[in-house]
C-alpha cells in the first residue's frame, strides 16, 4: 500500500450513485476510484491493485458477476462487495457462488455500505482466500458443505431447513462479527419483514437446537443483547 488510506474501486454505471458515494467514502477516510463499466473495473483491478472492490451487478460491457468471476479465476483474493439491483434470492445465492465477500441490496443506506466495507477489510488477510470463497467451512465439530447445502456435527449429518442453513452460512462466513438481525434478514431473506426480528429469532432457535448450542453457554453462536448475533468459534475454510 503506497497510500496510508486503503484504495477502494467503485464500479457502478449510474453516475448519480458513483458521484454521491465516492465523496461519502472519501470523507470516511478511503481513497476511491470510480469506473462506470465492468471491463474498466477489471483493468483497474490489474493496474491499481485496490484493497477492495465494490461492483454493481448490472453494468455495460461486463456485468459485476462476470468481473468477479474473472478476478477469482486469476487467483486474486481481494475482498469484493456486490451491489445487487434486484432482490431476487437466486441472485443473492449467486453472489456467494462467485466469491463475493458481502452484498447489499439497492437501495441501501450509505452507512450500511461503510459498515460492510469496514467489516470486510478487517476480516481480509492479504493474498489469502477469504472464507466467503471456500466451499467447505468448519468450526469445532461443525462442518458446513455449502455446495451440497448440508451441515454435519462430528461427521453426522444434521437436519436444517434451508433458511436456517443460510443463516448458519452467513454467520460462518462472517465470524467474530456482530451481525444484526436486520442484516441477516436482508442477506438471507432478502426482504424486510415487518415482524422480521422475530422471524430471525425463530430460525436461530431452530439452528441452535439442531447443532446443540446452549444460548447461555454458547460454543458457536453468541447473542449480543439488543444488537444481534456473533459466530464465536474459529472458522477454517477448505
Amino acid at each position: 500500500m503506497k497510500d496510508e488510506r486503503s484504495l477502494i474501486l467503485l464500479a457502478d454505471d449510474d453516475p448519480s450513485i458513483a458521484d454521491t458515494l465516492a465523496p461519502f467514502l472519501e470523507r470516511a477516510g478511503y481513497h476511491v476510484l470510480t469506473v462506470s463499466d465492468g471491463a474498466a473495473a477489471l483493468d483497474k483491478v490489474h493496474s491499481h491493485r485496490p484493497a477492495l472492490v465494490i461492483l454493481d451487478v448490472l453494468m455495460p460491457r461486463m456485468d459485476g458477476r462476470e468481473v468477479l468471476r474473472r478476478i477469482r479465476r486469476e487467483n486474486l483474493w481481494l475482498p469484493a462487495i456486490l451491489l445487487t439491483q434486484v432482490g431476487e434470492s437466486s441472485e443473492r445465492a449467486l453472489a456467494l457462488e462467485e466469491g463475493a465477500d458481502d452484498y447489499l441490496n439497492k437501495p441501501f443506506d450509505p452507512h450500511e455500505l461503510l459498515a460492510r466495507i469496514r467489516a470486510v477489510l478487517r476480516r481480509a488477510r492479504p493474498g489469502e482466500r477469504s472464507l466467503s470463497t471456500s466451499w467447505i467451512l468448519s468450526a469445532l465439530d461443525l462442518t458446513l458443505d455449502r455446495r451440497a447445502r448440508r451441515a454435519s456435527l462430528k461427521g453426522e449429518s444434521v437436519d436444517l431447513t434451508p433458511k436456517a442453513l443460510a443463516v448458519l452460512e452467513y454467520l460462518m462466513t462472517h465470524p467474530d462479527e456482530c451481525v444484526s438481525r436486520e442484516r441477516l434478514l436482508e442477506a438471507v431473506w432478502g426482504w424486510e419483514y415487518p415482524a422480521g426480528t422475530r422471524t430471525v429469532d425463530t430460525r436461530m432457535a431452530e439452528l441452535r437446537r439442531t447443532i446443540g448450542d446452549d444460548p447461555e453457554k454458547p460454543r458457536y453462536i453468541e447473542t449480543i443483547t439488543a444488537e444481534g448475533y456473533r459466530f464465536i468459534a474459529p472458522v477454517k475454510g477448505g
Binding site: E88, W191, Y193, P194, A195, T202
Partner: protein, 337 residues
Amino acid sequence: MRRLKAGRAFEIATMKLLPTLRDFLGRLFNKRLTRVIVTVLPFLLGILATVYVQNFLRPIPILAFRMDIGMAALVFGVFLTLLLGAYFFGDESRGWFARGEMEDVRREMDENRRQFIRRLDHEIKNPLTGLQAALVNMSEVSVDSDRHRAGENARHALNRLKRLLADLRKLAELEERPLERLPVDIPALLEDVVDAIQSLPAAQERKVNLMIARVPWPFPPVTGDRDLLSLVFYNLLENAIKFTTRDDSVEVRILEDGKDILIEVADNGAGISPGELPKIFDELYRGTNARGTEGSGLGLALTRRIVVLHDGSLDVRSRQQDPRGTVFTVRLPVTRR
C-alpha cells in the same frame, strides 16, 4: 387346405386393403370441404325429396300427425345436418367462443395494467414532491433547526418510496421464488405475530384478543412458508390497528374443521363501504379510509397472493353501522397425513 390358403390370402388382402381404405377415408374426412359437403348433403337431399315427392301428395299417417313423405324427408335431412354439424364443427365453434373469451380477458388485463400504472404514478408523485420541497428547504434555509426539519421530511418521503419499492419487489418475487413447504404451527405463529404487533409504537395501549380453541386436540399443522404466513397475519392485524381507535376492539380467532384452519381477524372500527369492499384487494387501491394513512397500498394484494399460493382463501365482510366492523377470514388447508 386350399380353401384355408385362399381364406388366408383374402385375409391378408383385406388386412392390406383395410388400412389403406381407412387411411383414404380418414384423409377425405380431414378435408374441411368434405366435412362441409357431408354435413349439408342430408339437408339438400331433404329439400330435393320434398320438391320431388310434392307431386305425389300422398299423406302418410305417423302417430296422430298426418305428414307427407316430402315433409318427413326434409325433417330427417335437417335433423341429420344438425347432428353431423355438431359432430364435425363442435370443437371448432368451441374454439371460436373461447377466442372471444380470451379477447375479453386480455382486454381486462390491459385495463388492469393501465390502472396499476396510473396508481403507481400517483403513489410515487406524492413522496417525490415532498422530497423535492425538502431539498429546496435544505438549501435555502440557514437556521439549523429548520435544516434539521427539512432533513427529517426528506427522510420521511424517502422511507415511503422505499416501502413502496420493497412491497412491489415482494409481489414480483412471490411469483418467481419457490415457496418453502414445511409444517407450520399456526397458533404459535399467531402468538408471535400478536406480540410483534403489540410492540409497535402505533399499537401502544391497544389490546388484541387472541382466542385459540385448545380442546379437544391441538391444531393440525399447515404446510407452507412460515415467514410468508406470518406476513399475512401481520398485515391483517396492522390494518385492524390502523383503522380503529383506542375505544374499538381487535380480535383474532382461530378454529379448525378437520379440512381447513380458519383464522379471523376482526375489529369494530369504522368499516368499509360496500362500494369499496370488492376493490380493497386490488394492487395500489386506496379506499377513502386509507387516504392519509401510512402504507404502500399493496399490503392486502400481497396478503391475498400469499394465501392463494398456500391453496387457501381470503374473504372480507364489513358493515359501517348497526353494528359496525370488519372481519377478514383466512382459510388454510391443513396438512394431509
